[in-house]
């Protein structure tokens, strides 16, 4: 009886699928993302005739993308059904998203993904987004140049990175006056919060606001490392790095003009693609550390279904399809986008395409989250206060000591949390 009911439900579900017309996915377009999602949408349409999956290209900078999404939410627009959302947003956007557990397949699928990310996407027992790919900050380094200048491996500390970058930069400048030691993300945006939290956490400076709600950023270790980062601007990093996002750093790196780069995993397959000046000449390592152990900022994107969607069940099905084993495998191989399904890290095809998935597995599972859960729904303001303060230090408008003291006061005003040592 149960079986009959189930198949009846399936038929009904298929019926609605066949009737439903259009699902629009708002997706990123960094690197190869857009091509990948368009191909995936086509595969879904081939398998489900009658459904049209549109892809809406959204801005590259996460801050801009959130702005666009909020405008759709404010208007309660049914224009977009599936949103690609950042790992830091489920808390802030909770009221606009549907609980995915009410749709078939999600309870089982959730078991396959990294538990930490599933937990991050769960608010009040509701699964608001299905993990799609995860990210962690990595150090990209030029193997050929390290060998040329007699270094036997990637730097373990920021001081070593400085020395190596300086040596290589001075040497390479003889033939290439546009060569730089180290490029990263220094623009005044969410990306700087990631880079910043990596510096601070790797120097035993805490995570801005601790998970139990204490503002810890104003401490000597944090101040020391942020001042050190500011000293890179104009020495081992171009002065314009304070205007760099991910793609600016990657463009400079991929044209062969830099020895080191801090970036997300997506730059790996692009760096090895045709036309890249560094294809086959680089590898990735964990980021260097200060006084403590290396820290990699936890990034990554999820798929969520809008509460204002006209076809939430079809939209949920599209999200489930896009986040499935087979689709994540294609994205991992073609785009070096880290899967969130644990079994894929043992898949031989995936490991062949991106060997660092295996060797840096611990970096991905132990990545440093930003304080988004504890500060929700004010995370955006917290992050903005942090990256503005760090940006002021990088551009020399303030020293880190003053900037962090003021940031502490700002964070107190925004969150109302007490201050303390990390």
């Amino acid at each position: 009886m149960k079986k009959i009911l189930f198949s009846l439900a399936m038929v009904l579900a298929l019926g609605t699928v066949a009737l439903a017309q259009t699902v629009t996915v708002a997706a990123g377009a960094v690197g190869q993302e857009l091509e990948l999602i368009k191909a995936a949408a086509q595969r879904y349409m081939d398998a489900n005739p009658g459904v049209t999956v549109n892809v809406l290209e959204t801005p590259d900078l996460a801050t801009d993308r959130l702005g666009l999404y909020l405008q759709f939410f404010e208007a309660q627009s049914s224009e977009i059904d599936v949103y690609q959302i950042d790992v830091i947003w489920p808390g802030d956007l909770a009221e606009h998203l549907v609980d995915l557990y009410q749709f078939p397949g999600f309870a089982e699928a959730a078991q396959e993904h990294f538990p930490a990310i599933v937990e991050n996407n769960t608010v009040d027992g509701q699964l608001l987004a299905i993990p799609w790919f995860t990210d962690a900050g990595l150090l990209y380094y030029r193997t050929d140049l390290l060998e040329k200048y007699g270094f036997d491996g990637p730097p373990a500390t920021w001081d070593e990175l400085e020395d190596m970058a300086m040596t290589i930069q001075e040497g390479e400048r003889a033939t290439n006056p546009d060569f730089w030691g180290y490029v990263w993300q220094g623009n005044s945006y969410e990306g700087l919060t990631c880079d910043g939290i990596e510096w601070v956490a790797s120097n035993n400076g805490g995570s801005i606001i601790s998970p139990d709600g204490v503002i810890t950023i104003n401490n000597p270790n944090a101040i020391e490392i942020i001042d050190q980062a500011a000293s890179w601007v104009g020495t081992i990093s171009p002065g314009g790095v304070t205007g760099f996002g991910e793609e600016d750093a990657r463009n400079l790196w991929q044209s062969g003009n830099s020895a080191f780069m801090r970036n997300w995993p997506y730059a790996f397959s692009l760096g090895n693609s045709e036309g890249s000046a560094v294809a086959g000449l680089f590898d990735v390592a964990p980021l260097p550390a200060g006084k403590g152990s290396p820290a990699a900022c936890l990034g990554g994107w999820q798929l969520a279904v809008s509460k204002y969607s006209e076809n939430p069940d079809v939209a949920a099905d599209v999200a489930l399809f896009l986040a499935s084993y087979d689709e994540q495998k294609i994205r991992a191989i073609q785009g070096s986008l880290n899967p969130t399904i644990m079994a894929l890290y043992e898949d031989p095809d995936v490991l062949e395409a991106a060997p660092f998935f295996g060797s840096l597995y611990d970096v991905f599972t132990g990545a440093q989250p930003r304080p988004s859960t504890v500060t929700a729904p004010n995370y955006a303001q917290v992050s903005r206060a942090f990256f503005t303060a760090v940006h002021d230090v990088l551009t020399g408008q303030q020293d880190a000591e003053t900037a962090m003291a003021l940031l502490e006061l700002d964070l107190e005003a925004i969150t109302g949390f007490p201050t303390g040592a990390p």
């Binding site: 900078l61 801050t63 801009d64 959130l66 702005g67 909020l70 405008q71 939410f73 404010e74 009221e95 606009h96 006056p177 546009d178 730089w180 623009n187 005044s188 945006y189 104009g234 171009p238 002065g239 314009g240 790095v241 304070t242 205007g243 463009n251 400079l252 044209s255 003009n257 729904p377 955006a380 303001q381 903005r384 503005t388 940006h391 551009t395 408008q397 003053t402 003291a405 003021l406 006061l409 005003a413």
Partner: protein, 365 residues
């Protein structure tokens, strides 16, 4: 002024003598005006009122949080300013610390008040040998107002000068004038977001950018000038982009103005033996003045609400008034504060408009 008074006098005495036909025509006119009035009400007055209203509330963007009425709180947070004197830095013996021949002062951090609102520094300045700090509760917004006004004044002045030169050139007869006139309009025709991107590439901070390559080739800079990240170059870069884009618009308006000046005046001036320069100042400029005034109003009001170049190129690194309001709304989700900022922009632009109308006497035309 006298003329307008006479006109009002006429209209107030007239109705009594008005015929039935005239009155009917007036009613028809009112009916015909009604649709445009309704449209203005819907698309201008209503949203404006909405912004005024929400500037007094704590509304959050895209949130179901209940909205509270908070009076002038948003305005206090935006506009509170104070000036405090900075005490000189003293060493252990109580003597002033002097580094490189300059007296050192304490930082503003402990000088500016923190309760009930926290002030931060907008600017420091010397006055009669004393050091002062200008503090504001929202230093970003005060800086944005100042930046926007500087941007508007400098870019409009430059656009007027260049526009006039181009218009005078294109008003003379030469071969290929039609092509030149069309070519002149190209920058104006490009969407600002696109032209801002083009300039972003031209002014890229490394030698991937044209300007850095060019400047370093002729020996200026080291090929790594951060046009958009160096705080003293940000405004000049913005002004350059705006002048490049909007000079054609200015030239076009002035060209139309030049076309209305009768040729006979120049012939008469010629006969009287006036030089070309004398002709420009005695004939061209006075007759062009009304057009110039209209063009100035257009451009100044437009420049004061500049948004796109700042948003595309500088993001949250540095704000214009409008990009600040947008960032408060979208990134900070603070509808109240953003609305208050919009009202301040509205009032400022209004003040500029009234100033122009009074000084240039545009309304008499």
């Amino acid at each position: 002024m006298a003329q307008t008074q006479r006109q009002t006098a006429l209209t107030t005495t007239k109705p009594r003598a008005m015929s039935e036909l005239a009155r009917r025509e007036e009613r028809t006119a009112l009916w015909l005006l009604l649709p445009s009035f309704v449209i203005i009400l819907l698309i201008a007055i209503y949203p404006l009122g909405q912004v005024f209203y929400s500037s007094f509330t704590s509304a959050r963007f895209a949130s179901s949080e209940p909205t509270r009425f908070i009076g002038f709180e948003n305005y206090r947070n935006l506009l509170s300013m104070t000036i405090r004197q900075l005490p000189p830095k003293l060493d252990e013996q109580g003597n002033p610390v002097i580094t490189d021949g300059e007296r050192q002062y304490e930082t503003w951090v402990r000088i500016l008040p923190r309760q009930p609102r926290r002030y931060s520094s907008v600017n420091e300045f010397n006055f009669f040998g004393r050091r002062y700090v200008l503090g504001a509760t929202n230093a970003e917004f005060i800086t944005a107002i100042w930046d926007t006004v500087v941007f508007s004044v400098v870019s409009v002045v430059l656009e007027t000068i260049f526009g006039l030169i181009i218009a005078l050139t294109l008003a003379t007869k030469f071969i290929g004038r039609g092509v030149m006139r069309a070519a002149m309009l190209v920058p104006w025709a490009i969407i600002t977001v696109v032209s801002a991107r083009i300039w972003e590439w031209i002014l890229a901070p490394t030698r991937l950018g044209f300007m850095n390559t060019f400047l370093s080739d002729i020996g200026i800079g080291d090929g790594n000038i951060g046009f958009f990240t160096n705080s003293s170059l940000q405004l000049p870069s913005m002004i350059t982009m705006d002048v490049w884009k909007t000079t054609p618009f200015m030239a076009l308006l002035l060209l139309a103005g030049l076309a209305t000046i009768p040729k006979e005046l120049y012939e008469a001036a010629e006969v009287d033996g006036a030089s070309k320069i004398r002709q420009f100042f005695s004939v061209t400029l006075p007759l062009l003045a009304p057009t110039l005034a209209v063009a100035l109003i257009f451009r100044t009001l437009d420049a004061l609400r500049v948004f796109d170049v700042f948003q595309v190129v500088l993001g949250s690194q540095r704000y214009s008034m409008a990009s600040f309001a947008q960032d408060m709304l979208i990134a900070n989700r603070d509808v109240g504060l953003s609305s208050a900022a919009s009202v301040v922009i509205f009032v400022l632009i209004f003040a500029f408009a009234i100033f122009y109308i009074r000084v240039l006497g545009v309304d008499s035309e």
